[in-house]
């Protein structure tokens, strides 16, 4: 098959870190190439070099056999290379059309021609079967749609090569299925695709060939046909992934009880509608749902970040309705937040400072308002050791850590907090399988010590693997409750999209 793209001997260093160490790959016409590897393996870096967001220290890129210099994204676009970024790159308050046509607008006397642009977007959406409303405001669109907008952007720019960096991290199973099918369609239509993902089942479903990176080096390029999930994960992390044993517990002590929780929004919509749920000691309870269906708000209400709700929240036996964060934490709650940089940490602060959060007034770490710095640093070092967080010392700033290591700092802080109940939101988002296994272990360990965990994640496999019970959230209310024994992958997917279950029959 024709090679549309070749990257040869790419080297990229950040200070002492060699992010890409002499990597060579190629891409063929109409194929889907998957790139896998641990956190920090250098996947994003390689793709950023291809898309002109970073400059390689050395190495060459050939497009259709000709050497090219990709110095910026606009050069990449001119060369018909498009990228769907890991973090969406959208203009929230603008319309879908304005987002898609950006930089290649149809204009009349340099005025923006609203109608023509919208027609063009509608036509494009039709042609590739990617459904969007051209006039909708992007902020109001669900995540799945936002991703379709990202893909349409690359198609609008006539991309022949499309790069996807962890595209499924934020999608529901059904959306993931849609996405993977879309990718296959695009490949069939002659486009060449590269996908970065941590989910090996997706790789097995969609890819033609797989590139495996480890610590900046190219380990191997294999055909999908000739490999398996086990082999890939072994290549990625250099060892086998252990399987988690989950023991069941019996307990009636209720750690969290949410009764008739209702919350309005300024958009004039109920974001939570009469939610009832509970978590017992020794239980991991999952909340499954497409993001944007009220999970975030539910967690905000329980943790005290949102206090203008109606209803009752009980944590660890005490009524904490409309209490502030500090009071609820005191009542016995810890919380791994959804977004590690926005909520979970201060990037400019040291690891010690980040680990102290929430405990700065405890007798363990302060006396008469004065911090016991030695004690704090000692505790930080202990967590760094236990969670094998890869850092130089506890005075390093969070912004200097890789995403996975930053996540570990937060997870360590919250899981090791001396309290019975933990809310864990997307605790493994974007971290590699090894680290993921570790986080899972710690969560289960907490549960085994008769703690309770409310796990909110869009990662279906995580929910299926860890949870004793699962609530499905749709459109602000609890749609269904699964007990461990009757959890069903397909049923779950349908429920998450608002389907109804009628005597074990799933109706769309």
């Amino acid at each position: 098959m024709e090679k549309v793209l070749e990257m040869k001997n790419i080297v990229k260093t950040y200070g002492r870190v060699v992010a890409n160490d002499d990597i060579s790959i190629d891409l063929r016409k109409g194929e889907i190439l998957a790139i896998v590897g641990e956190n920090g393996a250098g996947k994003s870096t390689l793709m950023k070099i291809l898309y002109g967001l970073e400059k390689a220290d050395s190495g060459e890129i050939f497009l259709h056999g000709k050497p090219v210099k990709i110095t910026s994204p606009s050069v990449a676009m001119d060369l018909q290379i498009g990228m769907v970024q890991q973090h969406f790159m959208l203009f929230g308050p603008m319309t879908v059309t304005e987002n898609i046509v950006y930089n290649n607008e149809i204009s009349k006397y340099s005025f923006f021609d609203k109608k023509k642009n919208e027609e063009k977007v509608a036509e494009l959406s039709e042609r590739y079967g990617l459904k969007v409303d051209p006039t909708a405001i992007v902020d109001n669109c669900p995540v799945g749609t936002q991703q379709r907008i990202e893909i349409l952007k690359t198609l609008y720019q006539n991309a022949d090569i499309i790069i996807f960096d962890e595209p499924s991290a934020v999608l529901t199973p059904n959306e993931v299925d849609d996405l993977l099918d879309t990718m296959k369609n695009l490949a069939a239509a002659g486009k060449s695709l590269i996908i970065i993902t941590h989910k090996l089942n997706e790789v097995m479903y969609v890819a033609d060939r797989v590139v495996v990176l480890r610590a900046g080096k190219l380990i191997d390029v294999v055909n999908k046909k000739d490999t398996s999930i086990e082999q890939l994960s072994y290549m990625m992390i250099g060892r086998q992934v252990a399987n988690l044993e989950i023991v069941e517990h019996d307990s009636n002590e209720t750690l969290l009880k949410v009764e008739n929780l209702t919350l309005g929004s300024e958009l004039g919509k109920k974001v939570l509608d009469n939610v009832n749920l509970y978590v017992n000691a020794g239980e991991i309870v999952g909340i499954a749902g497409v993001s944007g269906n009220g999970q975030t708000e539910l967690v905000r209400c329980i943790s005290g970040l949102e206090r203008n709700y109606q209803g009752k929240v009980t944590v660890n036996g005490s009524d904490v309705s409309n209490f502030d964060v500090a009071a609820i934490r005191k009542a016995g709650l810890s919380h791994i937040p959804e977004d590690r940089y926005m909520w979970g940490s201060a990037r400019e602060a040291t690891i010690s400072d980040n680990i102290l959060m929430g405990e700065e007034d405890s007798i363990r770490f302060s006396k008469n308002g004065i911090l016991k710095q030695k004690e704090i640093d000692g505790y930080a070092d202990k967590l760094i050791g236990e969670y094998s967080i890869k850092v130089d010392n506890n005075k390093q700033k969070i912004k200097e850590l890789s995403g996975g290591n930053a996540q570990k700092v937060i997870t360590a802080r919250e899981v090791e907090r001396d309290c019975p109940f933990t809310i864990a939101c997307e605790p493994t988002r974007g971290i590699d399988i090894g680290a993921m296994e570790f986080v899972h272990e710690r969560l289960v360990a907490k549960r085994d010590k008769y703690g309770g965990i409310l796990l909110v994640t869009s990662e279906l496999s995580e929910i299926m693997k860890l949870c004793d019970r699962i609530y499905v959230m749709y459109n602000g209310s609890i749609n269904y409750e699964f007990k461990n024994e009757d959890i069903d992958d397909h049923k779950l997917g349908v429920l998450m999209l608002g389907g109804k279950v009628d005597e074990n029959k799933v109706v769309n």
Partner: protein, 360 residues
């Protein structure tokens, strides 16, 4: 591992200091170029500037005197800005502190030390409450603190001007100068050495530097304030009551500014003179000092002394060489611009790297 780290930290620090030093050098060079272009002897000018600001007991004493109010404004700003509250309010709070001192001190009868203490407390209270008012409006009504405090500065200035002109003017002023309050006879702050203007307010300033440094770095309140500054979402998520922290921080920041204003009255002018806080731009210099030093208390001390020193040196070269003292404000502007840019050392490195990459 520990030793390696401390060496690394040392170089980290060294980097920061050398950026500032290079900024200072560039500022002085540009100043020298301007002097040369406008017909003054640049070398004599720069040497005179440094000499006049730092190199004699008299120069140092004058510099310390001028630095005193700047240090307070700087600490006030460092506390607020370092906690994420961009308050420009030091000026208004200093005015409130100063006018309060000028009103309260003559009213109190008793030993001087008592008068001083009561007056300083009253001024701190005035500064703190004025700061709290802007904090309250900003928090309650979700208004931009920078703007609110800026508006409050104008209001304080006019208010103090009204008081000095119509309410507390000096009834015995021979000069019919209705822009000042009564001279304070009892309750002034003495000089450290009678020959030099530096008064004990400077010692109080040093004390406050230590206290603020301790509060920021070693207390749980300081921790809350710092975290609120670095990432308010994180602080909120962690249970730090943002509003309470904001009020506390801005109260403290206002009290410091108020204290600075009061010391200027009790230690230097012995009365409130209309515009005495506004026109020398103490609060601008203070905010500049705090930004230059990335909100560190000790950094504020050093930057304030530096800024005061080149101003004092400027008046000296004006007297000795007739170089307009505005040259020092120009130099100061260039230095502060460069200090946050921090490109001085990095620039050549960048260039090198880009050259390397061309072979893609």
């Amino acid at each position: 591992m520990k030793t390696k780290l401390s060496i690394k930290n040392f170089f980290h620090r060294f980097d920061d200091i050398s950026y500032s030093l290079i900024a200072v050098v560039i500022g002085l060079i540009v100043g020298a170029i301007i002097m040369a272009l406008t017909g003054f002897d640049p070398i004599e000018g720069i040497v005179g500037l440094i000499k006049g600001g730092f190199l004699s007991p008299y120069a140092i004493a004058s510099t310390f005197t001028r630095a005193t109010p700047i240090i307070f404004a700087g600490l006030s700003a460092a506390l607020a800005w370092g906690s994420g509250y961009s308050s420009m309010g030091a000026q208004g709070q200093m005015i409130m502190g100063a006018i309060t001192a000028a009103i309260v001190a003559p009213l109190i009868k008793g030993p001087a030390i008592l008068v001083v203490i009561v007056t300083l407390l009253a001024s701190m209270l005035a500064g703190a409450l004025y700061s709290l008012l802007s904090a309250y409006i900003s928090a309650k009504f979700d208004a931009y603190l920078l703007i609110i405090t800026l508006m409050f500065n104008y209001v304080a200035d006019y208010f103090a001007s009204y008081l000095t002109n119509y309410v507390f003017l000096d009834p015995y002023a021979l000069d019919k100068l209705a822009i000042q309050t009564q001279l304070i006879e009892n309750g002034t702050i003495p000089r450290i050495f009678s020959r030099y203007t530096t008064h004990y307010g400077f010692i109080i300033a040093l004390l406050c530097v230590a206290i603020v440094a301790f509060i920021i770095n070693k207390t749980s309140f300081g921790y809350k304030a710092r975290m609120s500054g670095l990432n308010p979402n994180f602080a909120e998520y962690g249970g730090i009551q943002s509003r309470k922290t904001m009020y506390k921080v801005l109260l403290l920041s206002g009290a410091l500014a108020g204290l600075g204003g009061a010391l200027e009255v009790l230690g230097s002018k012995f009365r409130y003179v209309d515009k005495m806080i506004t026109s020398p731009g103490y609060s601008w210099s203070g905010i500049t000092a705090s930004l230059m030093s990335n909100y560190s208390a000790v950094g504020v001390l050093i930057s304030s002394i530096f800024l005061a020193g080149i101003t004092v040196g400027g008046s000296s070269i004006e007297l000795l060489m007739s170089i307009p003292s505005e040259i020092t404000l120009i130099i100061q502007g260039i230095i502060t611009m460069l200090v946050t840019a921090k490109f001085v050392i990095k620039l050549p490195k960048f260039k090198k790297k880009e050259g390397d990459k061309d072979d893609i």
